[in-house]
Amino acid sequence: MPFLLPALVINIVIILIPALLTVAMAFVEWDGVSTPTFVGLDNFRTIFADPVFFSALLNNIKWTLIFLIIPIAMGLVAGSLLLVVRRGRTFFQIVYFLPVIIATVVVARVWQGMIYNPESGLVGWLKLYGVALSDPLANPPTALYAVASVDVWHWWGFLAVIFFAALRQVDMAQIDAAMLDGANFPQLMRYVLLPAIRPTITLMMIMTVIWSFLAFDFVYVLTQGGPAYSSEVLSTLSYRYAFYNYTVGPAAAVALVISFFGLVATVFYVRIQQREGAR
């Protein structure tokens, strides 16, 4: 126990105690100064009456679907093709990983200024050739997708490296046997490689669901949830309630809703693990 104590004490003081306080705060009204008063479910009624809450929740669901499909597909394609080639594996892995190591704020500014900006970016360059686009971040219908694209770019290389690492552990004898039977590459993927790394894919998909409900940095830096709340997600909404409106109760209520989705995904993950362990 003395070995565990320092890490555990830090964790409990920084995470567990404040988290329990947030749970309590979701049921009180408090402006940060006066004595908190118990208000039952009022904070939840407040957020459920706020139309932005539901559009933010819908945005989180869209975000989850985007991230379950696009980066995972890109990562699987790149990861499996790395298995095909022999030369340049390390080079490609390093290049794919580069975006992952760059700070989100820096990535956000590069995309904002050099890609999306109608004057200084790629969008502005397209204008030179007669393709007049407005700033995708400033348009309510496109803002969320523009932000998600930046995060996909930042993220997919991580999955490519993870999936490649998993694919390398597949038994070579299995692969050779399939090749001897005359399987082509797509067949090899479908019948040998993908089933072999299914636990890794499942883990990454569950993590994707959890992380999609935690998504904050790119939205906050690129659009602050705007324009007109069109790219607001639950985490930025919670932050807005707390630090802009100084309404800590609704902020805590939204944080609880986010945690609920994380909890559901975790339970799902544990059950899948138990099932796979039983086989």
């Binding site: 394609v77 794919y96 945690s259």
Partner: protein, 277 residues
């Protein structure tokens, strides 16, 4: 399998991999090229190469944003966090690997659960608590927050390294009269040093790049980290993208050099944390 796959399959694979590489590199190349152009040149043609290299963007970014001070702050927070994580997490990982603690399963489950919580679930009370105790702008207090957040991953990663140590080695040391602490410190720790290096690299980079927590807990101008200072720079001089991209490079450069030196450890560490064999 490379022998049996046709030449065309391999050629096509390289083509797709190269497209992926271009997607990954293109925005970064734009960042580098733009950092060396005047803002007039950037607006005239965002994709053109600079006519003359504007090194002055870098010196302006350095002085305007007072990057020197903020980079030092980042280095301080990162260094403290790495030391705290490496010490506390190697001890915790050892305990969990040896299952020396009753309830180790529950402790593992608790640590796993904290990684799925949104920061917003503990940020607000933590902020009020820190403000009440006068810990805003305190580097050590901030690195404690990072230690708490990054430690579950670090503990689980280090645990796999401790599990790989044969028990016979530890038993031999105990027979020789070593106590539990000496076994950990003198026998096991040297054997898991590659794991500790991996954890140091990953948690160091995460700390260097982190934005939300740092901007919440280090607020005064003199205490800000480089990433937060960079964020405010964008607001102040939003038209001068050459200068902003130069500042971006100055912040990314240390992380990039570090990554290129350590890439093998980095990629293997990330992968071993996520791949289930």
């Amino acid at each position: 399998m490379n022998q049996t796959l046709g030449r065309s399959t391999i050629a096509l694979s390289y083509l797709v991999l190269a497209i992926g590489a271009i997607i990954a590199i293109f925005p970064l190349a734009l960042m580098v090229v733009s950092a060396l152009k005047t803002s007039a040149e950037i607006v005239a043609n965002p994709l053109a190469l600079p006519s003359a290299l504007q090194w002055v963007n870098f010196s302006r970014a350095w002085t305007d944003a007072q990057l020197g001070r903020s980079l030092l702050n980042s280095a301080e927070v990162t260094g403290l966090t790495v030391v705290l994580i490496c010490t506390t997490c190697s001890m915790a990982a050892y305990a969990l690997a040896r299952q020396a603690t009753p309830g180790w399963r529950w402790i593992s489950a608790y640590l796993l659960a904290t990684t799925t919580l949104p920061i917003q679930l503990y940020l607000f009370p933590l902020y009020f608590g820190y403000a009440h105790l006068g810990l805003i702008d305190n580097v050590f207090a901030l690195s404690l927050v990072y230690t708490a957040i990054f430690s579950p991953f670090s503990i689980f990663l280090l645990r796999t390294y401790f599990l790989a140590i044969p028990r016979e080695i530890e038993e031999a040391a105990i027979v020789d009269g070593a106590n539990r602490w000496q076994v950990f410190y003198k026998v096991c720790l040297p054997l898991v040093s590659p794991g500790i290096l991996t954890v140091a690299v990953i948690s160091g980079l995460n700390t260097w790049n982190e934005f939300l927590i740092s901007s919440t807990f280090l607020q005064s101008h003199d205490a800000q980290t480089a990433v937060v200072r960079f964020y405010t720079l964008g607001g102040q001089y939003s038209s001068d993208w050459g200068e902003i991209m130069a500042a971006a490079i100055l912040i990314v450069a240390p992380a990039l050099v570090f990554f290129l030196l350590m890439q093998r450890r980095f990629i293997e560490g990330m992968a071993s944390g996520s791949v289930k064999g």
